[in-house]
């Protein structure tokens, strides 16, 4: 029974999700509120179940998954983020003709997939978790099926995602073929046996390429702006937060556990991907007029910085990655919740950056919150977003990659421009047509909490958070 107890969070979510699906099917539109709040409760219950030391340390089910602190930390970020994505949809879908209740259930299933991803220690469970997360994601992207852009986003995401899954599977099959095992430690042992063969290297590259797609890392980022723009905003909030964490954490585990002996082989790939993401994310955001597209490039840019920590390697680098992703989730969710409130007088969503003009004079609190998220995403002190950047740079310099740190930090200056542009539009331009007031007390509270975390007050969190990330990263090594 011990092994099942260790999987308590996943069990809560899977069983609860299945039951809720039935509830949703039978109650239809009437049950939307009930199903949504129950889903949030499920996700929070799963988060609570994570508290305390893992009851069953070490591999479970013949090494398919492990329940170490690393996995717990990842899930402790992703489950609340998924819950917030459900809350974000409150009052969003009711306006259309869609059934909103499946939305919450799909997010719960996606959360199960993400939980499996971060705890996977085998290529099989890795793939299963990733597909579960992605399949729910494809449906979510096209949730507004009557809206052309949403349908297009779903289709694009599905086709490209399927291609990426194919690449990933091909990499998995090569690795299995050349090592005879799908287990991470077994693969590490095979790599340790001497110079890796060509087949192993191909497997490694294909595996990383598949993961890069999920994390929307350059050069596998093409889908991101289109999907972010086309998907309904609550769905985009979800895509930009929890699945990113899952993909980056999964890549971290694969790199430092399964591919540890081949560090020299993957490190160059990660360095390239990190720098390419930072610079492309920064440069491509320049011309954007749609705030969701802009934030898509911002997320590409930010994942690039997290990868700098991975490239640095070692417990310090992994800890920096965890810290970065934790803060990134808060900043991104905060920014997207603000985007959610951009609605014209009739309550239709608005996405143009121009519509933010003079927001500080129309809705000073709203503008100030977005102001903080922008400077935090840009990594300008005294905002809290500065600290995770400092940590990844510290890890890089400590590992001797000074040139990498210098290049990455120059990327922050380029990126700062477009965050500044949002602030300029909000604070220095003449006011545009006002937005409709959105009365969502829970969302307001969430924005306030997120804004407080990214404010300089967030520095008080550094000690407890870095303590956690250090321990979580330590469980990998």
């Amino acid at each position: 029974m011990g092994r099942f107890a260790a999987l308590l969070p996943e069990l809560i979510l899977s069983i609860g999700g299945t039951v809720l699906m039935m509830v949703a099917a039978f109650t239809g539109r009437r049950g939307t509120g009930l199903v949504s709040w129950l889903s949030v409760a499920l996700l929070l219950a799963a988060t609570v179940a994570l508290i305390g030391a893992p009851s069953h340390a070490g591999p479970i089910f013949d090494g398919l998954v492990t329940e170490d602190l690393f996995a717990s930390f990842g899930r402790a970020i992703m489950y609340p983020a998924a819950a917030i994505a459900i809350i974000a949809a409150h009052g969003w879908f009711e306006r259309g003709t869609e059934h909103a209740s499946e939305y919450a259930v799909l997010i719960v299933f996606s959360a199960v997939g993400m939980g499996v991803m971060v705890s996977a220690t085998s290529l099989i469970s890795l793939y299963v978790g990733l597909e579960l997360q992605s399949l729910a994601g494809y449906v979510l992207a096209s949730y507004r099926r009557r809206d052309e852009r949403s349908a297009e986003a779903g289709l694009k995401y599905f086709v490209l995602g399927a291609l990426a899954s194919g690449i990933l599977l091909y990499g998995i099959s090569l690795l299995y073929g050349f090592t005879g095992t799908t287990n991470f430690t077994g693969i590490a042992a095979a790599f340790a046996r001497g110079a890796p063969s060509l087949g192993l290297l191909f497997g490694l590259v294909f595996l990383l390429a598949g993961l890069a797609f999920k994390a929307s890392v350059v050069p596998f980022h093409m889908w991101t702006p289109d999907v972010y723009e086309g998907a309904p905003t609550p769905v985009t909030t979800f895509f930009a937060s929890a699945p990113k964490v899952a993909a980056v954490l999964l890549a971290t585990r694969v790199c430092v556990v399964a591919l540890a002996p081949a560090t020299d082989a993957w490190r160059q790939i990660v360095i390239f991907a990190a720098l390419a993401s930072i610079f492309l994310g920064a440069v491509a955001a320049y011309g954007q007029t749609n705030i969701k597209r802009l934030l898509a490039y911002s997320s590409i840019n930010n994942v690039g910085f997290a990868l700098v920590g991975l490239a640095a390697g070692g417990p310090k680098g992994a800890s920096a990655v965890l810290f970065y992703m934790a803060v990134y989730v808060v900043m991104t969710i905060g920014a997207f919740l603000c985007v959610l409130w951009m609605r014209d007088a009739e309550g239709r969503p608005v996405e143009s950056i121009e519509s933010l003009s003079g927001l500080s004079q129309r809705q000073p609190g709203f503008a100030f919150a977005l102001f903080m998220f922008m400077f935090s995403l840009a990594g300008v002190p005294p905002m809290f977003g500065f600290w995770p950047k400092l940590l990844v740079f510290t890890a890089a310099v400590d590992a001797g990659y000074v040139a990498l740190a210098v290049a990455a930090i120059l990327g922050t200056v380029i990126g700062a421009y477009y965050y500044l542009r949002i602030v300029k539009v909000m604070y220095m331009d003449e006011p545009a047509a006002p937005y409709a007031r959105v009365r969502e007390p829970v969302q307001t509270l969430l924005v306030i909490i997120a804004a407080l975390i990214v404010s300089p007050l967030g520095y008080l969190l550094i000690s407890p958070l870095s303590n956690l990330t250090d321990r979580a990263a330590g469980s990998l090594f």
Partner: protein
């Protein structure tokens, strides 16, 4: 004490956001005056012969960063300059700023807290947070309340200075990882490998040279000054530029002495070009604010000259130039603001003959012009004199170039004064302008008094820094340049050299 000094404007800054324009003005004024009183208390309790670091506070808050505050004499005098200028800035914005007053006051108060933090921080990362954080309020001040070209100027200001600083951050990380401490006093005594010092020095130089600003990275300054509101220009010239000089004296010189020595020629050449070139540029400006902005670059070049002379006269002179320039250029920007509020143009050609209808204004403006020129008895003279002596010890050529700068400085300032205050008014509006009102007297007279004080009794400002400069000099002892004009003792055998030897 120092925490309180930083907390007062910070808390007031939050409070004013929720107030009316009238309330925000008063709260901001009171908060800055309280800070001025606290600053005076700080000065009174500072013991110039005591330990190097006083009013020390250590509070570990955040992993590798701690709330470590403490000041030496150098930081003390710069803090005094900041708290002295802030109430004047609030007063200068009293009527000039009409729109979004609470936000304006909040930005200024935040700015003050961050500036004081820069000078008080003893932790490397804390310093960086304050140093960079100052960009945000200044960006807003220029961008929201600035002139017609404000957007471009605010971008230029922000991105230019950010680009300079990020390289410094990497250097800081390297330092912390190799010295295993981010406590600034420890780092000031740590000997970094000579090979690494060069790179570290260059990284810090990138930041401080932009902030200072040194030629050729000074181009953001005229734009920012011209577009900023009057009080913004005062703070920019009065305090923000001093952060560059403070950075050199706190980081570059004591932490990388060998690196600094290696780059003396570079600093001297850049400073020499700046002194002459920007003075010439100032001579042909048609816009008053631009002229004063270029004069700032020239004065700051004096500071870098003096600092990298690496002798007592040079460094003390550089500090005095920073203080004097902080007062005088701030006052000059206020003088520009006074006439700008009346006529809404900064074109020099629009004015003339103001000594007829604004005698009080002409008097104060003359005091500040003379101070800027370096007239003995006013604030800039002791600093410029001392740093010239310091430079002369190292290189007579550099001293000649610097002196040319002083002459050119006199030329452009007197030319400016002549065109504005003498002759006949060029427009009827200029002739009809009223003299200073009570509020403006209150803004300008204290600066004028301080300028006289600095000129007549500079010892008040040298005493707190004397021991700290001494400590810096012992650190620099091995690397300070010998110089070409230092007299050497003769062997003493020949009779005719005896007199010379005895003289020295």
């Amino acid at each position: 004490m120092l925490s309180l000094l930083i907390a007062v404007p910070l808390i007031a800054g939050v409070i004013v956001l929720f107030m009316s324009a009238w309330g925000a003005r008063w709260v901001a004024l009171i908060a800055t005056l309280v800070d001025l009183l606290l600053g005076i208390a700080l000065w009174a309790n500072y013991d110039p012969n005591g330990p190097q670091w006083q009013f020390v506070e250590r509070q570990p808050i955040a992993g590798m960063m701690g709330w470590n505050l403490g000041i030496d004499g150098i930081a003390l005098v710069l803090i005094m300059l900041s708290v002295f200028l802030m109430p004047i800035c609030i007063g200068a914005s009293w009527r000039a700023i009409e729109k979004r007053v609470p936000e304006y006051m909040a930005a200024f108060l935040l700015m003050e807290a961050l500036m004081l933090g820069v000078f008080a921080a003893q932790d490397l990362f804390l310093f960086y947070v304050f140093f960079e954080g100052g960009l945000i309020p200044m960006y807003l001040i220029i961008g929201i309340w600035g002139g017609a070209e404000r957007i471009k100027a605010s971008y230029k200001f922000f991105l230019y200075t950010l680009l300079g600083s990020v390289l410094m951050l990497i250097a800081m990380l390297y330092m912390v990882l190799s010295a295993h401490t981010n406590f600034i006093p420890d780092l000031m005594a740590y000997n970094f490998p000579v090979g690494a010092q060069k790179w570290l020095w260059l990284a810090f130089f990138a930041s401080f040279a932009v902030k200072m600003p040194m030629w050729p990275v000074h181009t953001w300054l005229p734009d920012a000054h011209v577009q900023a509101p009057t009080a913004g220009s005062v703070i920019l010239a009065g305090v923000l530029l001093k952060m560059g000089g403070y950075g050199f004296i706190r980081f570059s010189l004591p932490m990388f002495p060998q690196g600094s020595a290696e780059f003396i020629p570079l600093v001297f050449v850049l400073s020499g070009i700046a002194v002459v070139y920007t003075s010439l540029v100032a001579l042909v400006q048609k816009d008053m604010k631009k002229l004063i902005a270029y004069s700032s670059v020239a004065h700051m070049a004096f500071v870098t000259f003096g600092l990298f002379a690496m002798n007592r006269q040079g460094i003390e002179g550089a500090m005095l130039v920073m203080l004097g320039h902080g007062l005088v250029s701030g006052a000059l920007f206020l003088c520009v603001g006074v006439v700008y509020d009346r006529l809404h143009t900064r074109e020099i050609a629009a004015y003339g003959g103001l000594s007829d209808n604004m005698p009080g204004y002409a008097l104060l403006f003359m005091i500040f012009t003379m101070a800027s020129v370096g007239l003995p008895g006013l604030s800039n003279f002791p600093g410029e004199f001392l740093s010239s002596v310091g430079i002369y010890h190292v290189s007579s050529w550099a001293a000649i170039v610097a002196t040319i700068g002083i002459i050119l400085g006199a030329a452009y300032m007197l030319y400016l004064y002549w065109r504005i205050c003498f002759g006949v008014a060029r427009t009827a509006e200029a002739a009809a302008m009223k003299d200073l009102d009570v509020r403006e007297w209150w803004l300008l007279a204290p600066i004028a008094l301080a300028a006289f004080w600095m000129g007549i009794y500079p010892e008040s400002f040298i005493r707190p820094i004397r021991n700290d400069v001494g400590r810096l000099l012992t650190r620099l002892e091995t690397v300070a340049p010998a110089g070409d004009s230092r007299l050497t003792l003769g062997k003493g055998a020949q009779h005719e050299h005896m007199d010379m030897g005895a003289m020295h």
